[in-house]
Amino acid sequence: MSRITESFNNLKSQGRKALIPYVTAGDPEPKVTVPLMHALVESGADIIELGVPFSDPMADGPVIQLACERALLHGTRLIDVLDMVAEFRQTNQTTPVVLMGYLNPIEVMGYAAFADKAKAVGLDGVLTVDLPPEEAHEFNRLMKASDIDVIYLLAPTTEPARVEKICAAGSGYVYYVSVKGVTGSASLDVAEVAEKLNIIRQHTDMPVGVGFGIRDDASARAISEVADGVIVGSVLVNKVAELAGNQALIPEAVAAITASMRQAMDK
């Protein structure tokens, strides 16, 4: 059983939902990332989504675009992000880590080399925004062979038949994008999300995480009532940006946001 599946199973038996924070690796500087990951875990994060910086993040809003730019300024490459996972694993062997990013850095490294390295550093999952299952046969085969979960997105526009196809290709959990738009854009409609999750659950037994548009305790709590996991990104990355000039404060300040969300979700 993968670390991700185990994590969701444990939460389920406790009647709790997963809190899944997203931060961009290397933002604003590489040395911040691993301490930030540990602080997130201490604040109650169950799974960490670590963004791989990319020059052209087409599905992201301005907040994460700027995070990518800051990280790239210090030359944070995919290989460096994998090394950060290895460093994190030195003291944490239980919290799943999922890389989230775009295909080209993996394409250039080579699928096989990426799969080997990902396994070696103790990565648990990978979510590639611009790699839909139709184009992912070889990728999926290699990730599966390395015991890495491949996490796919579902959108409000995804037809039921396609939900089934996507869930069959993925493992670990599926990521439901709650709004039409880029990351950090509109606020979400919980009733609409709940309705869509009902449809999704007719097609899969996998846990469903919901992201895009979760920005405070209230929305985190509302989503935790209908989803298996609450994914929060832009609001955390915004805090990182605010403190870019005072980096020592970043782990504590970001973790304060997730700690508060954790409390709201567990009430």
């Binding site: 995919l78 796919y152 997105l153 409000p156 526009t157």
Partner: protein
């Protein structure tokens, strides 16, 4: 050399998933998948629909002004002392470039699907102008994304778009050129997918765009093939066209794919020279395959997979990737790709203006420059067809600036 069978296969590309061999495909976020599937279905239905075809043909004839002439540049040819150069005069189209062939087609798709708004990305501004033009005509709201750097160097086209009622959004992210405009246009589309038709201007992007843009632009090659046969009694020996994303080139090339004796030469932007790294010529530089803007293609990216900033004097060629069908035609050995530097393109711009009284766009000047290199090495009874994809009025500002003239 590809065999006859290879060429027959090449002519039928892409496959059902939008692949041209290992290139092309549909590499997008799930949020856009439904819209692309819908576009594909609509397109496949309408492209075969006689009523749609009749309307497309009528617009090309009476609104765009087709067929565009195939002009024998006699003085230029005589001076170079080799092959006869013929110019396919896409610069004479309404709005001044080949771009309108495609925007007419996509605007008709927008109309048939009932979308009230269109969006577009633009580099040189020609596609933006062509999109704003068809939007004005059909009464559609129009938003054009353009890099801040391109807005500066193509000020005339920016104002043209505004006169046509379009909103021009300045893109300040990344390199502030065409690639970033395309990122922003895709973000707009994700957000407004219910009411917006995204008019991609080049033969790139996720399936079905490379295919439908090629189909709409293939009128160039179909006309040129017939015109060349009528005027000279034979097919051309060489086709030359500039390649940024490559829509004018694929439009010229595609109808000739199975004419194995016709050489096809795509000319990329060599910028300051391939050896300097400051260029926009992924195929000529042998860039590895990569994924950007929804398709796998030859892409300028670094060892870590980050897309590299490009340079070209012409905004319309200033793009790190290339349409996937070009990457494929290169791989199977059907088309050749080479690069022309800024200086050579500027020289060709001046030279064609002085010898033929035709001022080419800086993009098209790259193709003219290659023809000027190649013609003297060929026989006088051989024929080169150059796609003069756009007119140079929009570039007068850039050229004047180089001459130290400020209006």
């Amino acid at each position: 050399m590809p065999t006859k069978e290879d060429l027959a296969i090449a002519k039928q590309m892409p496959d059902a998933g939008g692949h041209f061999g290992q290139f092309g495909g549909r590499y997008v976020s799930e949020t856009l998948m439904a819209a692309l599937q819908q576009l594909e279905q609509t397109y496949e239905k309408l492209w075969r629909d006689p009523q749609f075809q009749a309307e497309f043909d009528r617009d090309l004839a009476h609104y765009v002004g087709r067929p565009s002439p195939l002009y024998h540049a006699e003085r230029l040819s005589r001076e170079l002392g080799g092959a006869q150069i013929y110019l396919k005069r896409e610069d004479l189209n309404h709005t001044g470039a080949h771009k309108v062939n495609n925007t007419i087609g996509q605007a008709l798709l927008a109309k048939f699907t009932g979308k009230p708004r269109v969006s577009a990305e633009t580099g040189a501004g020609q596609h933006g102008v062509a999109s704003a033009t068809v939007a004005a005509r059909l009464g559609l709201e129009c938003t054009v994304y353009m890099g801040e750097e391109d807005i500066r160097r193509q000020a005339l086209n920016v104002y043209r778009m505004k006169l046509l009622g379009a909103e021009v959004v300045s893109v300040k992210s990344g390199t502030r050129t065409l690639k970033d405009a395309m990122n922003e246009a895709m973000r707009d589309w994700v957000t407004n997918v219910d009411n917006t038709f995204y008019i991609i201007g080049t033969a790139a992007g996720p399936h079905p765009y490379p295919k439908l843009v090629r189909d709409f632009q293939s009128i160039i090659g179909r006309e040129a093939r017939q015109q060349c046969l009528t005027q000279t009694g034979k097919l051309p020996d060489v086709l030359i066209a500039c390649v940024g994303g490559g829509s004018n080139a694929i439009g010229l090339f595609h109808p000739f794919i199975e004419d194995a004796d016709v050489r096809m030469v795509g000319v990329e932007a060599g910028g300051y020279g391939i050896e300097t790294g400051q260029h926009a010529a992924p195929l000529s530089a042998g860039s590895r395959p990569g994924v950007l803007h929804g398709n796998r293609t030859s892409l300028m990216s670094d060892e870590g997979g980050q897309v590299i900033g490009t340079h070209s004097v012409s905004a319309g060629l200033d793009y790190p990737g290339v349409g996937p069908e070009h990457a494929y035609l290169k791989e199977i050995g059907r088309a050749e790709y080479t690069a022309i530097n800024d200086d050579e393109a500027l020289h060709a711009f001046r030279h064609l203006t002085l010898t033929e009284g035709i001022m080419p766009a800086l993009e098209s000047s790259h193709a003219v420059a290659e023809a000027m290199k190649m013609a003297p090495t060929m026989d006088k009874d051989q024929i080169i067809v150059v796609n003069l994809s756009g007119r140079g009025d929009k570039d007068i500002h850039t050229v004047a600036e180089i001459d130290g003239i400020n209006f």
